[in-house]
Symmetry: C2
Subunit: 142 residues, 2 copies
Amino acid sequence: MEVVPLVMRHIRSEMRTHRMRGLSLPQFRTLIFLNRNEGACLSQVAEHVGVTLASASKVVNALAERRLVIRMTLRNDRRYVSLKLSKLGIATLIRAREDTEAHLAERITELSPEQQVTVFAALLALRGSFADQQAPSNEKER
Amino acid sequence: MEVVPLVMRHIRSEMRTHRMRGLSLPQFRTLIFLNRNEGACLSQVAEHVGVTLASASKVVNALAERRLVIRMTLRNDRRYVSLKLSKLGIATLIRAREDTEAHLAERITELSPEQQVTVFAALLALRGSFADQQAPSNEKER
DNA sequence: TATTGTTATACTCTATAACTATA
DNA sequence: TATAGTTATAGAGTATAACAATA
């Protein structure tokens, strides 16, 4: 409860001060997800980012207006929207990620090698515990 | 970059679904800070929460309107605002914290005892690295 | 003149609810 | 009738810039 917001603050602060090509955190995370899941639909984005469909729609819309994301209607079932990054989106994501990771890495470097190993192990454990949590808590209530 | 937002999402999700007496995360963190630093001024809140003075002013204003925080002008230097929790604020904070911590604890319990130790050590290390980043010059011993 | 805080303005994120389009 | 997505509306958080009050 205490540490996570500290780290979040740092990430956001870095993203602000280094512009990040003007990406907000939800936008950034959406780009990351679409980079690894080309052709995903909006519902999948919403579930992954952990927001409602309506919120995801707005975030994706902003990204589409900036030509970072391409929206296409599926032929099979025209209710679905297929999403993927444009070339500009990919380039933007790469540069944004490099910037932010570099600054996070700087922080981590301040820790001892043992602490770095500990942090890495802990994050893996936390990911295992938290990563699959949004599916049950998000799907059932809709 | 990947795990921290997951945990944040979980915290926020818990806060939403369990109402948290309608506290947002910045409001919650502000109450926590004031609980441990009675009489702190607005600038200290802003620095601790990691936002600008203007943003802190808005958050505190919302808390004051809900009678959770009491604002008082300092006699010595009337530019300063002294902040503290009301009784209602204290009660609200306690219940909110109990709820959220209980749910976080549930998650952590899913990890093995070794993993729990690892997570704890990692959070300590991260706190050491990230906590003083906001206020390198503010070394009060409170 | 410097410092503390507030207000004005503008933007993003977020939710819920109502709506459209498709199946 | 059910599902995917959008739009409308509202509220909170955030920033910068301009302002007020105090020292």
